[in-house]
Amino acid sequence: MAGFHGYYLRVDLTTGDRQRVPIAPRILRRFLGGVGLGTWILHAEAPDENYDALGASAPLVFAFSPLVGTPLTTSAKFAVIAKSPLTGMICDSLSSSQFAIHGKRLGVDAIVLLGACAAPSIVVNGEVRPTDLWGQSATAAEAALAPLGKAAAIGVAGENGVLYATISNDGRHAGRGGLGAVLGAKNVKAVVVRGSEKTQLAAPERVMELARDLSQRSLGAATAKYRELGTVANLLTFNRLAALPTRNFQQGSFESAERLSAEELAPVREKARRSCAACTIGCEHIYGFGDGKSVRLEYESLFAFGSLCGVDTPEQVLAAVAECDRLGLDTISTGGTIAFAMECRERGFLPDGPSFGDAAALLPTIQAIATRQGIGDLLADGSRRAAWALGNNTIDFAPQVKGLEIPGYEPRALQAMALGFAVGTRGADHNKSSAYELDFDKSGNRLHGDAEIATRAVAPENRAALFDALILCKFLRGVFEDVYGECATLLQAVTGWDVDATELEATAARIVNLKKAFNVQQGWVPADDVLPRRFLSERLPDAAANGAVLPRERLQAMIGSYNLARGWTADGYLPAEVWDDLDL
């Protein structure tokens, strides 16, 4: 079968049993790979409704995709899918590089872990083995396991069940939603892969031709920002647009943004530029700090420990990012939860918490979280649970949706994105929605979301679902003139299918439906699609925001329009015909 192996590997960690489970070609055609296939497997393997995300029966899926292993640029990616312990909803995170290539060479399109090991273990090509790496950083574990293959590992945070712990590989992370805690709960330090079974391509020469063309185009103006400055270029721009979350979303601009900006930092601190395996863009910008240390810096990490915490010293921000990488923590949720604690302290609800602008408090707080020591035990469960524990209506300013901390896009200043956060199946998420593109469309009004923009938000979300299933990097999105048509051409060459743009559009929408279906089965209700009260009632004070706010009624109207545009009921449930199409 070209492009796929047609099997997934099911590993029962409790018994050590391994099983190659066939996947019907129809399923691959309807859900592709990556997030689409992974979510389908999650549905198939999930034990029951409302199961414990950290329980032994909870499945954890590593899903590869049809394009992995091809010379197509940015295709060396995989998805990790499970029920998030942070949100109780689906979590689909992506990561890149050699783990994807070597994992698919095992001769399977996905690996599913079920059950739990009795003692700390590693899983090597599906075989459960004891390990003495418990307590090591993910990086150290990867290095130690290198002789066995490419590893995706957890750090101390995952071992300690921090609800936003990551799974890391090759210096990258399946970062959001606490998948590292899921792996840690199974007593698994790392999943190691090394295979030799290459996937067939239906039209190898055509694939090469397409790959050369795509690589060439990937070096054009559409990706210049990522190549030249990386995602950190967002910071100063967002600051000018009052879209830079500052001091736990109390402001949309930070007075010291220039000090933290890529424009200022890159000339003096940037040490190198790197890329994932099989990528021509090279968006990874490595910054130096401390005594010869370095760290890959992304906008989301920079904002989370910079403006969001009111910290204006690059040295400490970079150190905080590196510490999260070492311990295996999602920087967005870590920064968001710390910023929440800072506001709680400011308001007198958490006297022992850190203060805004206290750069020296970042590292100790991060370490306390990863080890669940002192206040870290409270913060390790994320801002929503911390707010529930603290009471006093602190939930009104806990920076999360469905429990997932909000990334660096101020919802009042980017109101299409605000909708994306509210309806996102994994919570406040920028990568799955991509609705910020509508906010940056000069014909719209980013400060005033409405029903029309809500309807348009479906298209970028569907496109993101397609990219996450193929898998291709979303930084390529500006390279394509006809995304669905061109992706159909790629799939034709790889798989031999007679797929076309229309079919792929339906597939993308189906994958979004599939994720929503999982949430519905796990207890989602319409009230989950909401933003914290702060965004619905407090005006954004910055001049460039023109006093923007997103009243609850307007948000609800947007959500209703979005749901109807998706073919769902107005309150967001899936109608019978959608369930029928999913054929679960």
Binding site: A233, L241, A544
Partner: protein, 353 residues
């Protein structure tokens, strides 16, 4: 018109249907229009000299609003309010007129400050989706509930929200409006509209707020012109000769008019370009000062002074760049004006990451 007639008109008893001129008005003279002659202007001027003499009769002196007596600040009368319409698409200007710089403020803020010297009861009617600067307690902002229904829909919203008995209605592109003029029209205590160049100026007029229901009725019957509401209110038409000034009717509807007016006001003013993202390293600078003009001219200045920055493709802005006026509004048209003291942000269009 006799003195008696003037006083009568002020009390709202002017003869109805007394149309002096029947020429083709822009808004079209209605059948039931009261007319006011040059004697009205004499009244106003007399009031400003603070000499309510016997020549003008006791009636005049007692009925003129206080500010007419010597031009002192008007004692605020809750009877009077103002409605400011911000519903236009500003298509000819190429950007929201409300946010244009004018005398150190936005145009919207400037007009509000003018109105605020007359009344505290200001209602701003914004088009659906138009986000206005935070006006705090200076004005109540309401949204035009129905888009693209024309100015009468906005007037209706404003009248409904205004707690006064009479509302001076104006649009946001009235930078030459004066408090004196507002007081003049309000002093009639009735529906009143000036006629200038043969056009009834229904968007620089006074409406009774009780007419909101009538406006709704007209809209329901697809009679969406403000003049229909004025007619229904038995309005008083004030001739051009009677007006204290024509200046308030100078609108700035397009970039040329705006830039010419700014040139007169401020001379050789400048704006600042700020480079963000990849353009900063290419420009090898963070900012660049440019003369005010259209965005097109600013872009030409940028490309001329920073040769490594190429913002256009085929004459239009390249799709991978975005421009913004001070972060408040994206540039939609290169023909739009860049005002004095403004900051033009040059940024990468790709937002994700």
């Amino acid at each position: 018109m006799s003195q008696r007639r003037v006083a009568s008109a002020r009390r709202g008893r002017a003869a109805r249907g007394n149309v002096v001129s029947q020429h083709d008005f822009g808004e079209g003279p209605g059948d039931r229009v009261s007319w006011c002659t040059s004697a009205r202007l004499l009244e106003f001027r007399a009031a400003h000299r603070a000499v309510p003499s016997d020549d003008f009769g006791v009636d005049l002196a007692t009925r003129l609003p206080p500010a007419h007596q010597g031009g002192r600040p008007l004692e605020r009368d809750p009877k009077y309010g103002a409605v400011l319409l911000c519903g236009g698409g500003s298509r000819r200007m190429g950007r929201a007129k409300a946010l244009l710089p004018w005398r150190g403020k936005t145009m919207l803020e400037y007009v509000i400050d003018t109105l605020a010297t007359v009344t505290d009861q200001i209602v701003v009617v914004g088009a659906p989706g138009l986000t206005l600067p935070d006006l705090g307690s200076r004005a109540r902002v309401v949204e035009d509930r129905v888009a693209d229904k024309g100015p009468l829909a906005g007037i209706r919203e404003g009248l409904e929200a205004c707690p006064a008995e009479f509302a001076f209605v104006t649009a946001t592109d009235a930078p030459f409006l004066t408090a004196e003029f507002v007081r003049y029209l309000l002093s009639f205590d009735r529906a009143v509209a000036p006629e200038v160049d043969g056009y009834v100026q229904s968007l620089t007029a006074v409406y009774p707020t009780a007419a909101a229901a009538t406006a709704a009725d007209l809209l329901a019957r697809d009679r969406g012109r403000p003049l229909f509401l004025l007619e229904a209110c038995d309005y008083l038409r004030v001739g051009e000769a009677e007006l204290p000034s024509r200046e308030p009717f100078r609108n700035l509807n397009n970039p040329d008019a705006y830039l010419a007016a700014v040139q007169v006001e401020e001379g050789a003013a400048t704006a600042e370009v700020e480079f963000l993202g990849t353009t900063r390293s290419r420009a090898d600078r963070a900012t660049l000062t440019v003369p005010i003009g259209t965005v097109q001219q600013a872009v030409e200045s940028i490309e001329s002074q920073c040769p490594a920055v190429s913002l256009r493709e085929g004459g239009a802005l390249a799709p991978h760049y975005l421009l913004s006026f001070d972060g408040r509004e994206f540039v939609r048209s290169l023909a739009a004006p860049l005002g004095p003291g403004e900051r033009l942000l040059v940024m990468d269009a790709a937002a994700g990451g």
